[in-house]
């Protein structure tokens, strides 16, 4: 196989070798069900506890506030649906944003069908939520504010602390989808006034199919998956022990390497952004110039369509994405790019490149040359482009 330059780490990541090593014994050796009585199962139970502790520490939370799920989507669904249910007597109004992941947006639409009202906040041209609009949107029957920590497409980081303060001043629960942010930026649930937080293992070099929802003690959320007494009776199902162990290891690695890793990623990211903006005409950077995820670059190339661009990059061995991977089945232009004000046809020509710790300067140089070549070719084929 030709060399692969994988720049789609916001879609998913490689499971780290250390994570594999940590997980494997729990498949074939210590495979006991943590709920069982015998000592052999105690090994599994202990592994769960340790992972929970690692994750709690990473968030400055308590162990019994971490609830494992099958991933970010389940955590998002749980947070919204089961607080909506639990607090319905207080009110049926929820505030979120126009740039959330579909796991939040489609859950919001579902709740609307059930009789809840959902306000979708605008964002500015950089993708930042407007705090004054948030304040105005709050009503006496508002029960939940859900704003993502960082956007998966354009990488913009939200003023989470300020949002948390506004929520808590009004006695409203605050949930944040931190699937993209967790492991990339430091998070302190107390300092940021976060009541619930979603995360997913495979976004931080952990395994797929595992994630968690942080639930602050005292939040009266219902169960989402009913059944056995796992996860303090809040989330049924035999625990994915290897997945949980892997997630714990991934979080440990992410926290330990965060400073160095993200500093390096930022440098490469900025180098990429600077070269592309300088060397490819009719190009813009989407998202905030500085308040963005360390590994995220997102461009729009005018007169160029995204899928064609991706396929041509793929032919050069470069993996990138156009909009969110999860929605590539859909033909709609990215709701995030529309929300920051891009016209339809420019929203279409977006390219997201998300770096990893393994990305090198040589990779970036190769990618920039490839982009230049491809954009020129596609523009020459475009009926929209006149040179």
């Amino acid at each position: 196989m030709k060399k692969l330059i994988y720049l789609d780490n916001a879609a998913t990541t490689k499971t780290a070798p250390e994570v594999m090593e940590a997980m494997i014994p729990y498949f074939t050796e210590y495979y006991g069900n943590p709920s069982s009585v015998y000592d052999f199962a105690g090994i599994s139970k202990k592994a769960l506890d340790e992972s929970r502790e690692t994750i709690a520490n990473a968030l400055h939370a308590k162990e019994n506030e971490i609830y494992f799920t099958a991933g970010g989507s389940e955590a998002d669904n749980w947070a919204l649906k089961a607080t909506a249910e639990a607090y319905a007597a207080k009110g049926k109004h929820i505030i979120t944003t126009k740039i959330e992941h579909h796991a939040i947006l489609h859950t919001g639409e579902y709740l609307e069908k059930l009789g809840y009202e959902v306000t979708y906040l605008d964002v500015d041209e950089f993708g930042v939520v407007k705090l004054d609009q948030l304040k105005k949107a709050i009503r006496p029957d508002t029960i939940l504010i859900s704003v993502m920590f960082a956007n998966n497409e354009i990488g913009t980081i939200q003023p989470i602390k300020e949002i948390g303060e506004i929520a808590h001043e009004q006695g409203i629960l605050f949930h944040t989808d931190a699937v993209q942010a967790f492991g990339q930026v430091p998070i302190d649930v107390d300092e940021y006034h976060i009541d619930m937080l979603s995360a997913s293992g495979h976004k931080l070099n952990g395994p797929k199919g595992i994630g968690f929802l942080y639930i602050r003690k005292g939040v009266k959320i219902r169960s989402f998956v009913h059944g056995g007494a796992q996860e303090r009776k809040r989330r049924a199902g035999t625990e994915n022990v290897p997945g949980i162990v892997g997630l714990g290891k991934a979080v440990e690695l992410a926290v330990n390497t965060m400073e160095e890793r993200t500093a390096k990623e930022k440098e490469l990211r900025d180098y990429l952004i600077d070269r592309v903006l300088k060397e490819v005409p009719y190009t813009r950077l989407n998202g905030h110039r500085t308040n963005r995820l360390p590994n995220n670059a997102n461009f729009s190339f005018q007169f160029v369509e995204g899928e064609s661009l991706l396929i041509m990059l793929d032919m050069d061995g470069i993996c990138g994405s156009s909009g969110s991977a999860c929605t590539s089945g859909s033909l709609d232009p990215s709701h995030v790019l529309l929300a920051i004000g891009l016209p339809h046809e420019i929203a279409h020509g977006s390219l997201r490149l998300t770096l990893s710790a393994e990305t090198t300067k040589e990779d970036i140089d190769f990618v920039v040359e490839s982009i230049k070549k491809i954009v020129t070719k596609l523009r020459s084929m475009s009926p929209l482009y006149e040179d």
């Binding site: 369509e305 899928e307 064609s308 396929i311 046809e345 279409h348 009926p383 929209l384």
Partner: protein, 145 residues
């Protein structure tokens, strides 16, 4: 995702470009996906399509179907060109993923639009040709869960 034929026509699209003083030019778009295809026809006095070129802003399937459509159209009579359906284009490309079927409709419609333009300019009536829609998007029939 795409067949080898599609990938070939995407990577090496035939007949990209414009024809100056074309006999007919048609531009169609799909509002849903935002893609746009423009087809140029050079038709001689016997009604034979001598040349055909295209410009497309669109996905891989859109580029490949444009390319294949121009190939199919060349050398055909106007009447024969009119009978080229999106199905024929897809078959010539060894198929398209279900979500990409509409891209081939874009090609069919672009041919029609170019022929319509030719007919208008030369004041001809082409049997079976209707005024093309400028937007070919249809209702998706996918279920909502």
């Amino acid at each position: 995702m795409y067949s080898e034929k599609v990938m070939d026509h995407f990577q090496n699209p035939r007949n990209v470009g414009e024809i100056e003083n074309a006999s007919g030019v048609g531009t169609v778009g799909n509002a849903k996906c935002g893609d746009i295809m423009r087809m140029y026809l050079d038709i001689d006095d016997d009604g034979i399509i001598r040349d055909c070129k295209f410009k497309t802003f669109g996905c891989g399937a859109a580029v490949a179907t444009s390319s294949m459509a121009t190939e199919l159209v060349k050398g055909k009579t106007v009447q024969e060109a009119l009978e080229i359906t999106n199905k024929a284009v897809m078959e010539a490309l060894d198929g398209l993923p279900p979500v990409k079927v509409h891209c081939s409709l874009l090609a069919e419609e672009a041919i029609h639009a170019a022929l319509w333009d030719y007919a208008q300019k030369h004041d001809i009536k082409i049997e079976g040709l209707e005024k093309p829609k400028s937007d070919i998007s249809e209702e998706e029939d996918e279920e909502d869960y």
